[in-house]
């Protein structure tokens, strides 16, 4: 059996598991999760095998459109994404085994959960437009059902509505894009699409549609506004899957079309992608910095990382359009590496958020605090994820972002002056985003896990169950491994880069001491292992010195006693206080952040209130006006609901005449 057959079998099994789960009922929840996890692990194995051995396998299933069938294909690109999906899915399913034990209403989740995984896998395997769009739509609908798992919550219902609308718009954009690619002859198989040549203008329109269709699913600004509503509304393991894996499937769709199916593009197509990516990164992380809800802050951080990946992809497009294949391969590999890393640490973060949500019953950072004492293992694993996503060495986030910056450093070689100016500017924005990400995660970790408990629930929290911890540990180990041995990952990505950019980053396996050498040894190198050893040694040395030189007397003093001997935990530095400097410097212009003080009159006994408000600019400038326009149009069209029969006939008649006249003039 070829790998593709096994992968198709896995997708089919996952899709079939949903109906089975309905029949088996709520007691089978753990079983469903275990089965999904095992299949996902198998998918990861198949993907890794196909990626390392190379080779393309295809198959045609007699389902779907009668004259087309379902073409499936497993090449290096889909094998890589299948690996990402498999690892993410397996870890999340393992986590969900623990989650299922205290889930009140598993029948809202388990019928959709395996099918969601299966549909995502089917998107990766699809080799014709029909199968691709079909799987994409199934993926959207099943994840929508999962977002509505807590449907009693009006906020979840609103999130589900916004998500459904955005998913419909996105699929429509994809439909148009594939329609343009297939052309009037309707060549919907990817092979036919690949063989067609198109004018730069058509290619640019397709790119725009892909940015809307795949970009909105991934969370690209300004189409991102549904994401921070929908991802946190789902149960935590589904949030992990949506943020960690589904956004990657959306990126796969973008890469498949833009790098593979569309063929060569003009260089002027790339600045839009670079600009949108860099803007998304900064906007996403500033919003994450402001947000007081843990899961929503993580969702905003997903937007930031998607922006980083899109910037790298835009750079790869620019390099590729100018024939700089080695540079394109570097930027592209860096994007893929970051995709892998983001899957690992964002899933881990959402699992950690789920564990704290289970333990404290709240998602608000200001009601957590001090969890490092009650949940030490979760706290340690979260620390790994937080360090990784803040791009600190020696973890994986640093390795991939470092590679992206290396590719930006190659941008002076681009012949177009506009790109020469744009790429460093984007680099500056990415650097800003990386620094803000560190600040945002210091805030999340510091307020959530350090200090003293801010609520009784946080004080009485208990450690997460073993299955959840094992899943988180697995991903944390992956983060450390990819950080220490980035060369191995980069070598595994070489076939994908060769397939889509025509070159690959120099082989890293032969480098001395596992040093990462993306361009040449004389330019820049990074050795994760060495940095780790250095950090460990210097840390140990500093600790030893402090212990040796410091006085042995234990000194006890009041905690947080910065001139205020008030013992109330609310006097601690909170989530809002951490965000204040950034909010005042960047938020006032970008997010219309406002602070207002409600001071009671003298003699009035109610407390004074200090309130902070901010708005997502995408809501104000894109979503709200579009919604208003649709509303107005709907109100107008609504009149046609109440016409007389004769007027309906007249309308039909008039449109017929109009069409006939058009046909006459056009012919």
């Amino acid at each position: 059996m070829a790998p593709i057959d096994l992968a198709a079998l896995a997708a089919g099994a996952l899709l079939a598991l949903g109906p089975l789960a309905i029949m088996a009922g709520r007691r089978a929840a753990s079983g469903v999760y275990i089965a999904s996890g095992l299949i996902c692990a198998a998918v990861a194995g198949i993907g890794l095998f196909a990626l390392l051995t190379g080779g393309v396998s295809t198959t045609v299933l007699p389902i779907g459109l009668p004259w087309l069938g379902a073409h499936l294909r497993l090449d290096a690109l889909s094998a890589f994404f299948a690996t990402v999906l498999g690892i993410g899915g397996a870890a999340v399913s393992l986590y969900a085994v623990g989650y299922a034990r205290h889930d009140d209403d598993p029948m809202r989740v388990i019928p959709f959960y395996p099918g969601f995984l299966g549909a995502m896998l089917a998107v990766l395997l699809a080799d014709d437009a029909f199968s691709f769009l079909m799987s994409w739509e199934v993926m959207s609908l099943l994840s929508w059902a999962l977002v509505l798992a807590h449907h009693h919550d009006p906020e979840a219902r609103r999130a589900g509505f916004v998500y459904l609308v955005m998913a419909a718009i996105g699929t429509m954009a994809l439909l148009l894009a594939f329609g343009l690619m297939a052309g009037p002859d309707g060549g919907y198989a990817f092979d036919t699409i690949r063989a067609t040549t198109r004018t730069p203008l058509v290619a640019a329109i397709i790119l725009g549609l892909m940015l809307l269709g795949a970009g909105s699913k991934a969370g690209l600004a300004p189409f991102h506004a549904w994401l921070p509503l929908a991802h946190p509304a789902a149960p935590s393991h589904v949030s992990a899957l949506m943020s960690g894996v589904m956004t990657k499937v959306a990126l796969y769709g973008f890469i498949r079309v833009v790098f593979d199916l569309m063929g060569p593009q003009a260089w002027w197509a790339s600045p839009a992608v670079i600009l949108m990516g860099a803007g998304t990164a900064v906007l996403g992380i500033i919003l994450a910095m402001m947000e007081g809800d843990l899961k929503r802050a993580l969702a905003y951080s997903t937007i930031e990382n998607i922006g980083v990946i899109f910037t790298a992809l835009g750079l790869a497009m620019a390099f590729r359009a100018n024939g700089m294949e080695a540079a394109a391969a570097l930027a592209f590999s860096a994007a893929l590496f970051h995709i892998f890393n983001h899957m690992a640490f964002k899933s881990l973060l959402f699992m950690g958020a789920g564990a704290t949500l289970t333990a404290t019953g709240t998602r608000s950072l200001d009601r957590m605090g001090g969890l490092i004492h009650q949940m030490p293992v979760t706290a340690a694993l979260m620390l790994v994820a937080v360090l990784a996503i803040s791009a600190l060495p020696p973890l994986n986030g640093f390795a991939s972002e470092w590679l992206i910056f290396q590719s930006i450093l190659l941008s002076p070689g681009l012949p177009e002056p506009s790109l020469q100016m744009l790429a460093p500017a984007a680099g500056g924005l990415l650097a800003l985003a990386a620094a803000l990400a560190a600040a945002a995660f210091v805030r999340i970790y510091g307020v959530g896990f350090l200090g003293r408990p801010r609520s009784d629930a946080a004080r009485d929290a208990v450690e997460a169950d073993r299955a959840s911890l094992a899943a988180m540990g697995l991903l944390a180990a992956l983060c450390v491994f990819a950080g220490l041995f980035p060369g191995l990952i980069l070598d595994a990505l070489a076939p994908v880069a060769s397939q889509l950019t025509g070159a690959h980053v120099p082989a890293q396996a032969g480098q001395p001491w596992l040093t990462l050498t993306p361009v040449a040894a004389t330019r820049s190198t990074y050795n994760g292992l060495l940095v780790a050893v250095f950090i460990a040694l210097s840390g140990w040395l500093a600790a030893a010195l402090v212990h040796r030189l410091a006085s042995r007397d234990v000194r006890r003093g009041p905690a947080w006693d910065c001139g205020f001997p008030n013992i109330d935990p609310i006097t601690q530095y909170g989530a809002g206080s951490f965000a204040q400097p950034i909010r005042r410097t960047l938020g006032t212009v970008l997010l219309r952040a406002r602070e207002s003080v409600d001071m009671p009159e003298p003699g009035d006994l109610r407390p004074a209130r200090h309130e902070v408000s901010y708005e997502d600019p995408a809501w104000l400038t894109l979503y709200a006006p579009v919604a208003r326009m649709v509303d107005a149009a709907a109100t107008y069209v609504n009149r046609f609901q109440f016409l007389t029969i004769r007027r309906y006939l007249s309308l039909v008649f008039a449109s017929l005449i109009l069409l006939l006249t058009g046909l006459t003039l056009w012919h």
Binding site: T644, I645, R646, F653, L656, I657, T664
Partner: protein, 221 residues
Amino acid sequence: MMAHLNFDIAHLLAGGLVLVSFMMIYQDRLSSLLDVFAFHAVVLSASVAWQAHIQDAPHLYITAAIALIFKALIIPTALGRIVQRLGIHREVETVVGTGLTMLAGMGLVALSILLMMRVTAGADALAREDLAFALSVVLLGLLMMVTRRNAVSQVVGFMSLENGLILAAAGAKGMPLVVEISVAFSVLIAFIVIGVFLFRIRERFDTVDMGAMDDFRGEQQ
């Protein structure tokens, strides 16, 4: 020589059908409208019969016979009785003025000829002319449905539209008989249903004026 004559006669009959459609448009009494509709069906049946003759397609004779029996005899007679029983045979009803409607109808004929001449550039001359006339008849039927407010004349408009379709089918060489029979029967059934409905409407609202019915729906005209 014979070919020319064949063509001219087919042309004459199809053109005659368009002319009768115009006659229908300016009838403002229901009984005379029904008479003209019967004449419409007779012309159609002659046209189809002529097509059967020149195409040497005997099954088209059956179509012609169906058109003659159902559309020229049974349906107009039945509709005439309905109109008599409803007591609306003297009613005058138009929404748009006759002159304006005639002008619009001329525009429609011009449009359909222009369109068909361009679209069917490759087809043979007879089919092209036939299709152009058929489309004119269809559009004039629709125009009639739109400009009348009495349910009976809307039914007549629909039936004349259907005549146009049969003309097109007969000209296009080789429409299977099954389709025609089913079309004829479906029209008959539609006619029966509409007839029944007319009486039900009349029983309930004491009128078959569609404008009055809109008033009953509680909406402004």
